[in-house]
């Protein structure tokens, strides 16, 4: 089946993934346009990582199609940059920050390569772009979580992918590192015209920069502008139970109501307590 060409960079059509009899993703359809910043939001275990792995070609789909630039991705290559969930890098790993970024250029190739001035400058420029030039000669295993994320973003972007996937890059970061990473990503996405798909369980740090949101719950997705998607009706349908969306001090909280709350609300309405 061929779909008509569109301006979409990435397109998922009715993707389902079943693993060991369990449905991990159900009829997921979404589109990402070039240069767009998309948040992949949802609770832990909702299927965010599986969805990213499907896009990368690491997880085969049970049904459905994944199209990159209007065609199935022919082979795994560097067209998609990937920053996996928290890496466990030992402090004695003999890789300096600049080595890690350099591996982003051609780490998948066999044989040795000679160092060159051009490569060195390319790596330095990339490190400057993510604000990691200060620790270019430090071992990557000695860095803090936020510093490592910057290095991995540089590693992923140096091969100039059209799409950058990040799996929970903000998990376990303090607030200032979190903001730093988000602003670096937003700036680079615009400057380099890279589409960003970033998974997170908390959407709030991303609200200022997100063009669109893909909300995942129980293996299903809702896609659209944050205002359209983050609504109690939409999310309740997704979760399959009643969910409240609370906006307080400019932050959004998604709260699942306890079991049986529908009946309580109905009863409350009867006596005129709830509006």
């Amino acid at each position: 089946m061929t779909l008509p060409p569109t301006g979409d960079l990435l397109r998922l059509e009715d993707v389902s993934v079943r693993l060991g009899g369990r449905e991990i993703l159900t009829d997921v359809s979404l589109r990402i346009r070039p240069g767009e910043f998309t948040g992949l939001i949802g609770p832990n275990g909702a299927g965010k990582t599986t969805l990213l792995r499907v896009i990368l070609g690491l997880q085969p789909v049970t049904t459905g199609e994944v199209l990159l630039d209007g065609a199935p991705r022919p082979h795994r290559d560097s067209s998609i940059g990937y920053v996996p969930q928290k890496l466990a890098i030992e402090p004695d790993m003999p890789l300096r920050v600049r080595d890690v970024v350099s591996l982003g250029l051609d780490g998948q190739k066999f044989g040795l390569r000679l160092p060159s001035r051009a490569r060195r400058e390319l790596v330095s420029d990339m490190l400057t772009a993510v604000g990691a030039q200060r620790y270019a000669d430090a071992r990557v295993g000695e860095l803090s979580g936020g510093e490592q994320q910057r290095v991995m973003i540089a590693h992923a972007l140096i091969s100039r992918p059209k799409l950058l996937l990040l799996d929970e890059p903000l998990a376990n970061l303090d607030i200032s590192s979190e903001q730093g990473i988000v602003s670096v990503l937003a700036r680079l996405a615009r400057a380099e015209d890279v589409a960003v798909l970033l998974s997170a369980h908390d959407m709030n740090p991303l609200m200022p920069v997100m063009d669109r949101i893909v909300y995942v719950a129980a293996g299903r997705v809702a896609v659209g502008d944050a205002d359209e998607v983050v609504q109690p009706e939409v999310l309740s349908r997704l979760y399959g139970r009643h969910v409240d969306v609370i906006r307080v001090h400019g932050r959004i909280l998604v709260v699942a109501a306890p079991e049986g709350v529908e009946e309580v609300e109905a009863a409350a309405e009867d006596v005129g307590i709830a509006g």
Binding site: L58, R76, I89, M93, P94, D99, G111, G131, E147, R150
Partner: protein, 299 residues
């Protein structure tokens, strides 16, 4: 000088062979060792050494050079480990408890039967603890060729191995055949263990594999520097070990030199421990952890 190098050291044929083969094996072990430690496969190296012991003992029993036994059993074990996925924790536990015990049990049987039939009691010692002064000249080409093969494998895979150790998912997403690369590396590891077994013995072979590499990883920051440092340390340990073993011929009990493997392993361990005396240069840590935003203003 003559207090360090006892008379006849430089004129001795076995010493020449020992120095040359020792250097080649030390370099191979060190280079393969760096990647073994990076990949967290020291355990696999140790398992291969145990199984190589069985191979060496079997070779002795049937009367062929023990190198072929080390090599055949090591390579077979590497293939088997790849099949059962010994990288996984459960696979490791099973392998430790069952397979390695069985392998060493068999080694004990082979050595017992071998010494019974040939009444050469030195053989057990040679297989377990090495024989760098009695390397059979005819195996030297095979030793060198195996070493070059293992080195070439690691050179070809170097970048891919580094990327996979950073994240096997990134490597896979970029088209690296992660599984095949792992299998090829495991083979190089098996060859390296077999070589090391020839010079310092099957039981001690991991010392030469892991020791210089672990020491180098504490000292060097980049992959190239780590590999070069490990190779230099490995060669130094083997060469100084050979000199001391030669000298020890004049030490008590007189007329019976101490084993080379004792010196090599002691030097390797001493080198590793010495790195703990060196204060590690720390980055200016405290303010870095706050990760302030220098490069760009908030969006």
């Amino acid at each position: 000088m003559r207090y360090i190098f006892e008379p006849g050291f430089f004129a001795s044929g076995p010493v020449h062979v020992a120095l040359a083969v020792g250097a080649v094996v030390a370099i191979t072990s060190a280079v393969v060792g760096v990647f073994t430690v990076i990949r967290g496969q020291s355990f696999a190296g140790h398992s291969l050494a145990d199984i190589a012991t069985t191979g060496g003992s079997g070779a002795f029993l049937v009367g062929i050079n023990q190198f072929w036994g080390f090599l055949a059993f090591g390579a077979g074990a590497a293939a088997f480990m790849e099949m059962i996925g010994v990288q996984r924790r459960r696979g490791r536990d099973v392998a430790t408890g069952v397979v390695l015990g069985a392998a060493l049990g068999l080694a004990a049987l082979f050595l017992y039967l071998g010494t019974q039939s040939s009444s050469t009691t030195g053989a057990s010692f040679t297989i377990l603890f090495g024989s760098i002064f009695v390397i059979t000249t005819s195996t030297i080409p095979a030793l060198i060729a195996s070493a070059l093969l293992a080195l070439a494998t690691v050179v070809v895979l170097a970048r891919v191995l580094l990327l996979s150790s950073l994240s096997s998912d990134i490597a896979a997403a970029r088209g690296v055949p992660v599984r095949a690369v792992g299998a090829a590396f495991l083979m190089a590891l098996a060859v390296s263990v077999a070589l090391s077994a020839v010079i310092i013995g099957a039981v001690l072979s991991t010392a030469l594999l892991i020791g210089p590499a672990a020491t180098a990883l504490r000292l060097a920051r980049s992959p190239i520097k780590a590999v070069v440092t490990a190779a230099v340390l490995g060669v130094l340990a083997v060469w100084i070990g050979i000199v001391l073993a030669y000298d020890s011929y004049y030490w008590p009990p007189a007329g019976r030199g101490w084993p080379v493997s004792f010196f090599v392993v002691t030097l390797v361990v001493a080198g590793y421990l010495l790195t703990f005396l060196r204060r590690r240069p720390r980055r200016s840590a405290p303010h870095d952890s706050h990760d302030p935003e220098h490069a760009c203003s908030p969006a």
